[in-house]
Symmetry: C2
Subunit: 268 residues, 2 copies
């Protein structure tokens, strides 16, 4: 979760203005309830919800019931809460979520039909990759990602593309923090990673060879937004032993160009 430094938090709850009570705004409490859910815990009891959101039980109950009434949360027959369909409907309007996905989908389907391998579409959010779409071949190499899930920037193909084109301060933050090794082949040396990012910018694509799981190789290319900046990346993930990155790169780059063109004919 982000910090709420900017919120005008009153010194005393008793004098709190509208929506800011007990040192924490109501908005932040409502958002904390939503943020309590995760892929590991998609269903929560009221007391779990209160604990994770850092709220008292009565406050959590009052806010959660408002969210249920609106449809942002739903309840199971056993009383546990989960994210509701109505929130999913509203969130489907996010341009970087389904907006990007709609523009990209025909090209992702083409990539999948031609290769029957894993096809992935991702954006950068802060220091991480967020996967927006994934078409997984039934017999394709297993991958760790999930739509709506996150991963480190320095290991995956899409991550390398997004990192290579990220603002300098993002690159420095990643390069000056210890890099986690997901497999024996993950590049954890900042010097070597810098070289890979330069190669990615020069070649117009990135290769992650066994750097997430040793048996998978990913080739990724950048998708450009209306202002010529890199807004997303598309990748093909194949079995490492069968892979010819130089043969896959033109395929992935062509897809990325098609998606960029489609995106820029309508508002991102």
């Amino acid at each position: 979760m982000r910090h709420d430094d900017d919120l005008r938090v009153p010194v005393s709850g008793a004098q709190a203005g509208p929506g800011a009570v007990g040192g924490r705004s109501v908005t932040s409490k409502v958002l904390a309830l939503l943020a309590a859910f995760s892929s590991e815990s998609p269903e929560l009891t009221l007391s779990e919800l209160a604990r994770i959101a850092g709220l008292t039980l009565p406050t959590a109950h009052r806010r959660a019931m408002e969210l249920v009434q609106w449809g942002a949360l739903e309840r199971n027959p056993d009383g546990r809460f989960h994210i509701g369909l109505r929130l999913w409907e509203v969130a489907s309007l996010a341009p970087r979520g389904l907006g990007l996905r709609e523009a990209a989908m025909p090209f992702l389907e083409d990539l999948y039909e031609v290769t029957h391998e894993n096809v992935q579409l991702a954006v950068r959010e802060g220091l991480e990759v967020v996967y927006v779409e994934r078409i997984a071949g039934r017999n394709a190499v297993p991958v760790l990602t999930r739509v709506g899930g996150r991963f480190a920037l320095h290991a995956t193909g899409v991550g390398l593309v997004l990192l290579a084109h990220a603002p300098a301060e993002i690159q420095e933050e990643i390069l000056t923090t210890p890099l986690h090794g997901y497999s024996p082949k993950t590049v954890t040396s900042p010097v070597r990673l810098r070289q890979m990012l330069a190669a990615t910018r020069r070649d117009g694509y990135a290769v992650s060879d066994g750097q997430v799981t040793v048996d998978a190789l990913s080739v990724a290319a950048p998708i450009l937004g209306p202002r010529g900046d890199v807004v997303a990346a598309v990748s093909l993930v194949v079995r490492a032993d069968s892979a010819q990155p130089s043969a896959l790169a033109p395929l992935v780059k062509t897809s990325a160009r098609g998606i960029s063109r489609t995106l820029n004919n309508r508002p991102l």
Copy 2:
């Protein structure tokens, strides 16, 4: 938007309890800001946002900036707001959204590969269909739907399946309200619609022949949840003149069974 009948609205804003100010709770204001966005208006200026949400400009500004800070909203360079990626990430945990989609996707891909037609996955929300996934063939018949979009229950194939298995009070509400005709072939007679719903329950699939657009025919089948209730529907939408519903039905029913089986091996 739903009504807030259940919310404990204070008589006077001055005595308002935490989060309920000026006759309307802060939670409901925050949710109204999110609900202001639609597929027709995915980007809004602050004044549009305030007007649609029914808030004053200062209130809309304060709440919107809290939402931006958390990532539920994002701003364009021109200052307009849109739904943020972080809300999309949280909402991707909705079991009836991406949870259902993840279980269904391999089966939807199989249906698409075999037919190269439109494949759709939908759930019922109140009196409407909500589309959770759609794979659209490049050369397939055009359809009106969009992921995250809504449609009437009485016209589409998935809608007929979901209506046929909806609670009696939902069926009565639909059948006693004038039925909108989307095409000359839309069934708008309650008597005829009742017969179609009975046939859908008897045969295990529904056919919508030109009832949304005259050139499209949809065959849909029910997906069952862990308690044996119908939780979703899958359909194949093909060109009406080329269609043989009796040949497509076994294909769609088999997919629906596969999805149901996958769903019920893990928590819905």
